[in-house]
C-alpha cells in the first residue's frame, strides 16, 4: 500500500485540509490496443487545491481524467476519491468534459443541459422537477447565463457553451471537480471569470483538477501542477515543480520556445471589469432569450 505516501506529493502547506488527498491515483496504467497512454502514474491532489494537468498533445491528460472517472478501462492501478473507490464516491464528483466532445446541434435548451447535472442524484424513473429547475437556474445565474435559459444550445458562442457546461457541473454541488480544458476557445474575459469561479470553489474547500494548456497562466491560476507525458514527470506545488527542467522533461525540445514566450512582457493589466462578458457581440443571436440586463 503506497497511498499514504502518495498523498503527500502535492500538499499545499497551510491548507486547512493538508494531509488529506481529495484525489489519489496510484500506479495507474491505461492502454489502448497495447499502446500505453498512461504508464505507472501517481498523482495526489490535496483537498482544497486547484491543480493543473499539463502536458503535450497525446500526453494522456484527458485519459487521466477519464480513467479517474471510470470512463476508460484501466489496465492497472488504483484511484481513490477522498480515500474510497470512485464508484462509492460518485456523488462527491463533478465533471466538465471537453466542449468539443458533444454535438451542440442536439435538440435541447441551455436549462435542460444544466439540469442534466442533477440526473445522478435524481435516480431512475424520476423526472426533473421544480427543485432541479431552481438549482439549474441558480447555477446559470452564477455564470451569467440565466438570460439564455430557453436558448437552443447550437446558438451559443464557444465561451457560452463552456459556461453552460460549468453551470451543469455547479448543480452537481460536488466536492471534487474534474474539468477538461475549460479555457479552450473562450475569450479573455470569460477566462478571467472562470478563474474567479475556480478560486471561489477553492475558497469553499472544494478541489478542482483542470486539464490546462497555457503554461504562462499556470502560476497565476493554480496551486499545484501535474506534468504528464504518458509517464508522470512531476506532481506538486507550482513553486516546487513548475520549473524549466521538469518542463523540458515533459515537452522535450519544444520547451525553449515555450520558455521564450513565457519570458516576454507580463500580460497587460486587466482591461475590462471583472465578471462574465455581457457585451453585444456575445449576446446577439437569432432569438434573444429573456430581458436585457440593466
Amino acid at each position: 500500500m503506497r497511498s499514504p505516501e502518495a498523498g503527500t506529493f502535492c500538499m499545499q502547506p497551510g491548507s486547512p485540509a493538508a494531509g488529506e488527498a481529495a484525489v489519489s491515483v496510484t500506479d495507474l496504467t491505461v492502454a489502448y490496443r497495447e499502446r500505453p497512454v498512461l504508464w505507472d502514474v501517481d498523482v495526489a491532489v490535496p483537498a482544497g487545491a486547484l491543480m493543473a494537468v499539463l502536458g503535450p498533445n497525446g500526453a494522456g491528460k484527458t485519459t487521466l481524467i477519464k480513467a479517474i472517472l471510470g470512463l476508460v478501462p484501466i489496465a492497472a492501478g488504483d484511484v481513490r476519491i477522498e480515500g474510497k473507490p470512485y464508484a462509492e464516491q460518485r456523488r462527491l464528483v463533478g465533471y466538465v468534459p471537453q466542449r468539443g466532445s458533444v454535438d451542440w446541434d442536439f435538440p435541447t435548451t441551455v436549462l435542460d443541459v444544466v439540469m442534466m447535472g442533477r440526473y445522478g442524484s435524481l435516480g431512475w424513473l424520476r423526472r426533473p422537477g421544480r427543485r432541479e429547475r431552481e438549482a439549474a437556474l441558480a447555477a446559470l445565474e452564477k455564470v451569467a447565463m440565466a438570460d439564455f435559459r430557453a436558448r437552443q444550445i447550437s446558438q451559443l458562442s464557444g465561451g457560452q457553451q463552456q459556461r453552460v457546461f460549468l453551470a451543469r457541473a455547479l448543480v452537481q454541488d460536488a466536492r471534487v471537480y474534474f474539468m477538461d480544458e475549460p479555457f479552450q476557445g473562450v475569450d479573455a474575459r470569460t477566462e478571467r471569470a472562470i478563474v474567479a469561479l475556480l478560486k471561489e470553489l477553492r475558497s469553499q474547500g472544494r478541489t478542482v483538477m483542470v486539464v490546462h494548456h497555457d503554461l504562462q497562466t499556470v502560476a497565476e491560476y493554480f496551486d499545484c501542477v501535474t506534468l504528464l507525458n504518458v509517464r508522470r514527470i512531476a506532481c506538486g506545488p507550482v513553486a516546487e515543480v513548475f520549473n524549466e527542467e521538469n518542463l523540458r522533461l515533459t515537452y522535450g525540445g519544444r520547451v525553449e520556445f515555450l520558455q521564450r514566450k513565457a519570458s516576454l512582457e507580463p500580460p497587460p493589466a486587466d482591461p475590462g471589469q471583472p465578471g462574465w462578458p455581457r457585451d453585444a457581440r456575445d449576446t446577439q443571436g437569432p432569438s434573444r432569450g429573456g430581458l436585457p440586463r440593466p
Binding site: 477519464k66 472517472l69 471510470g70 470512463l71 464508484a87 460518485r90 464528483v93 465533471y95 468534459p97 466532445s101 458533444v102 454535438d103 442536439f106 435538440p107 435541447t108 435548451t109 435542460d112 443541459v113 442534466m116 440526473y119 445522478g120 435524481l122 431512475w124 424513473l125 423526472r127 426533473p128 437552443q152 447550437s154 451543469r168 474534474f178 443571436g285 437569432p286 432569438s287 434573444r288
Partner: protein
C-alpha cells in the same frame, strides 16, 4: 388524387381489412419514427439499415424451424438475427480496426445474402404455403390481419413505454455519454437497451414496409422533424407523427391500387415529407436560409450605394443639394441592382430622385451616410434583428 382520398376515407370507415391495414401502418410509423429520432441523434441511422436487412434470415429460419407463420414467431426470429447483427457490428468496431461504415456494410450484406438463400430454399422445399414469406422483402400491408395488429400494437406499446420510462437517461446518453458515465449511469447497458428497442421498432414494421426499405422509416421521420423543432420531446413526437402519417398514406394507397407494393409507397410518402421539411421549414429550411441570405445581401448593397452617394455628396458644400446620376454610382461600385437599392433608399426616406433622373440624399440620408462612413455600421435599417 382527391377522389382517391375520399375513396380511401369512405373505405376506411366501412372496410374492416382496410382499417386493420391503416392502424397497423400508422402504428409502425409512430414507433419507428420515435425510435428513429434517437438513432439519428446518436448517428446510428445506418445501424437501422443493417438490422432490418439482417432480420430476413431470422424470419425465414423461424419459419423453417417451427413451420409456423404466426406473426409473433416470425417477429421473434427477425428480432433475434437483427439484434445479433447489431451486436456484431458493435463488436467488430470495438475489437478490430474496421470502421463503423465498413462493419455495417459487411454485416448487412452477409446477413441479407444469407436471408435470400434461405428464402429460395424455403420456397423450393417447403411447399406452397410459405410463398407469403417473400412479402417481407418489399412489404405488403394488405396482408395484415388482426393477429398481426395485436403483435404490432403490443410490441409498439412496450417500446414506447420503455422510451418514456428511461427518457432522461436516453437523452443524456445521446447528448453526452461521457458525462452520463461520470454520473454512474450504466452507459454500455443503456446503449444495448436503446439499440434493442430500435431493433424491436424495426421488426414491427417489416411485414408492412419490408426489410429492404425499412431503414427509411428510421431515418426520414427524424430528419424531417428536426427541421421543425429544437426540443427533443417535440422532435420525438413529431417524428412519430410523420412516420404514422406516411405509414397511413402509403398503406392505404397500396391497398387501394392493385399491385402497388406497400414498402416503396410508404417510403415515397415519408420522403416527400422529409423533402418538404428540408425545403420549407421556417428556421432551418433551405428556402428560409436562401431568403435570409438574399435579404442580407440586399441590405449590404443598399448600404454600399448609400455610402457611395454620401462620398459623392460630401465633396459638395451642401451635401443634400448635390444630385448625381445613377450611372456614376454604378461605375463606382460595379454592382448590380443600383437602381433597386436607390429605390429602397427612397422608400426609407434617405434619398430621392430629381425630375431629371439624378439622385440626391435627403438630410436624413446625409446623416445616415455619415454614420455609415464613420462607424461602418449599417445606416439604412438599424436594428433589424435578422439572424
Amino acid at each position: 388524387m382527391l377522389a382517391l382520398g375520399i375513396g380511401a376515407l369512405s373505405a376506411l370507415a366501412t372496410d374492416y381489412t382496410l382499417r386493420t391495414v391503416a392502424l397497423g401502418s400508422a402504428a409502425l410509423g409512430l414507433v419507428s419514427g420515435a425510435l428513429g429520432a434517437f438513432a439519428v441523434l446518436r448517428r446510428q441511422s445506418l445501424l437501422g439499415d443493417a438490422v432490418s436487412h439482417a432480420a430476413l434470415p431470422g424470419i425465414v429460419l423461424a419459419f423453417l424451424l417451427t413451420g409456423s407463420k404466426a406473426p409473433l414467431v416470425l417477429v421473434v426470429g427477425a428480432a433475434l438475427t437483427g439484434w445479433l447483427a447489431s451486436l456484431l457490428v458493435l463488436l467488430i468496431v470495438r475489437a478490430s480496426r474496421i470502421k463503423l461504415d465498413s462493419a455495417l456494410g459487411i454485416v448487412l450484406s452477409s446477413f441479407f445474402g444469407l436471408g435470400l438463400v434461405l428464402l429460395s430454399l424455403a420456397q423450393r422445399h417447403a411447399g406452397a404455403s410459405q410463398a407469403g414469406l417473400d412479402r417481407f422483402l418489399f412489404g405488403q400491408a394488405a396482408a395484415l390481419v388482426g393477429a398481426d395488429l395485436v403483435t404490432m400494437a403490443g410490441l409498439g406499446a412496450l417500446v414506447l413505454a420503455a422510451l418514456l420510462l428511461f427518457w432522461k437517461e436516453f437523452k443524456l446518453l445521446s447528448f453526452d455519454a461521457a458525462f452520463a458515465g461520470s454520473l454512474g449511469l450504466p452507459v454500455r447497458r443503456l446503449e444495448v437497451v436503446l439499440t434493442s428497442l430500435l431493433v424491436l421498432a424495426i421488426v414491427i414494421g417489416l411485414q408492412t414496409v419490408g426489410v429492404v426499405l425499412m431503414s427509411a422509416m428510421i431515418v426520414a421521420p427524424a430528419t424531417a422533424a428536426r427541421q421543425w423543432t429544437d426540443r427533443l420531446g417535440r422532435l420525438v413526437l413529431l417524428a412519430g407523427a410523420f412516420g404514422a402519417l406516411a405509414g397511413l398514406v402509403g398503406a392505404l394507397l397500396s391497398s387501394l391500387v392493385p399491385r402497388l407494393p406497400t414498402g416503396p409507397t410508404i417510403v415515397l410518402a415519408i420522403t416527400a415529407i422529409a423533402v418538404l421539411s428540408l425545403l420549407f421549414a421556417p428556421q432551418r429550411g433551405l428556402v428560409a436560409a436562401r431568403l435570409r441570405a438574399a435579404r442580407q445581401r440586399r441590405r449590404l448593397q443598399v448600404d454600399a450605394v448609400l455610402a457611395d452617394l454620401y462620398r459623392l455628396a460630401a465633396q459638395h458644400p451642401e451635401p443634400a443639394a448635390a444630385p448625381h446620376a445613377a450611372a456614376v454610382l454604378r461605375a463606382m461600385s460595379e454592382r448590380h441592382g443600383v437602381l433597386r437599392s436607390l429605390g429602397r433608399l427612397a422608400e426609407t426616406g434617405l434619398a430621392r430622385e430629381d425630375a431629371d433622373g439624378r439622385w440626391r440624399l435627403t438630410p436624413a440620408g446625409v446623416a445616415a451616410g455619415r454614420r455609415l462612413a464613420e462607424t461602418g455600421a449599417p445606416g439604412a435599417e438599424p436594428g433589424s434583428g435578422e439572424p
